[in-house]
């Protein structure tokens, strides 16, 4: 992929990622993350993984981010009015992360310079190729993943549902008194 296109997409990805960690309102963080994920999807398409790029957009941006949005609504999250957390943690955390980024980047930039990418076989990244590998070499992983999704579905429902009557057990004392049959509420 041409260098100017990569630089443009990389800048958008990094700006989006900073947006995720620095925004105060969770919905703004979510939008920034959606932008970064679409950007990574476009990078996939540019790298030849066309099917995977569109699958990334369908799965991540179209489903997982909407799930996040629903949870933010359900919990009625507001923007963080004041900064919280330990200042020391933030300071050393940022320095640590920057050091990690710097070290890894030096490693990748000083590796043997690859001035051209090797040519890929025709049909690389197409649906047929991906499907052939999924159903032949990685068949067991594929089937196990489908069972994993079923388990995650059942688990999420079991964890997040409201058991009827459970809320009453933790209610403040007045409500408990009022709910007892035969009691009168002042």
């Amino acid at each position: 992929m041409p260098l100017w296109l990569f630089t443009f997409l990389a800048v958008i990805a990094i700006v989006g990622a900073f947006g995720v960690i620095l925004q105060r309102s969770p919905v703004h963080c979510l939008l920034a993350l959606a932008l970064t994920l679409v950007d990574v999807g476009v990078l996939f398409v540019g790298l030849g993984a066309v099917t995977l790029g569109f699958l990334q957009i369908i799965i991540y941006v179209g489903a997982i981010m909407v799930l996040f949005l629903f949870v933010i609504w359900l919990l009625n999250l507001q923007s963080e009015a004041k900064p919280n957390g330990h200042l020391a943690l933030k300071f050393f955390g940022s320095i640590g992360a920057a050091a990690l980024a710097a070290e890894l980047s030096v490693f990748f930039f000083s590796a043997q310079p690859i001035s051209r990418v090797t040519s890929t076989p025709s049909g690389y990244g197409s649906v047929e190729d991906l499907a052939r590998m999924l159903f032949s070499d990685y068949l067991v992983a594929f089937e196990v993943t489908s069972i994993l999704l079923l388990a995650a579905l059942a688990g999420a429902i079991a964890l997040a549902r409201r058991v009827p009557g459970a809320a009453l057990l933790r209610a403040p004392a007045e409500i408990q008194r009022a709910a007892r049959p035969g009691s009168t509420v002042r």
Partner: protein, 101 residues
């Protein structure tokens, strides 16, 4: 000029580091979760770039599975967050210290 694969790996490293910073800096559990998704995507990018370098489809298949597992993990993690919120009424990671003596 085509981009060398090292640039893609460097971008993946930077995104990963930003995700780590997000986990350390933010105390809101949902934003920490989003940083985890960011880290997962950085790793996906690395896999696809390396798969392209070698010319095999293995990188893409692995990314397919990572995406699926991330979806399952997001669903279960958010369900945990919902039930946590219902019992603790807070989403600040500093205040979720029930196991500390």
């Amino acid at each position: 000029m085509t981009t060398p694969i090292g640039y893609f790996m460097a971008l993946s490293a930077v995104l990963f580091a930003i995700g780590v910073a997000g986990m350390l800096i933010r105390r809101n559990v949902i934003v920490m979760f989003m940083s985890i998704e960011l880290m997962l995507n950085a790793v996906n990018l690395a896999f696809v770039a390396l798969g392209r370098r070698v010319g095999s489809m293995d990188g893409q298949v692995i990314v397919f599975f990572v995406m699926t597992v991330a979806a399952a993990e997001a669903a279960v993690g958010l369900a945990i967050i919902i039930s946590l919120f219902r019992s603790r009424e807070t989403l600040n990671a500093d205040e979720l210290n029930l196991l500390r003596w």
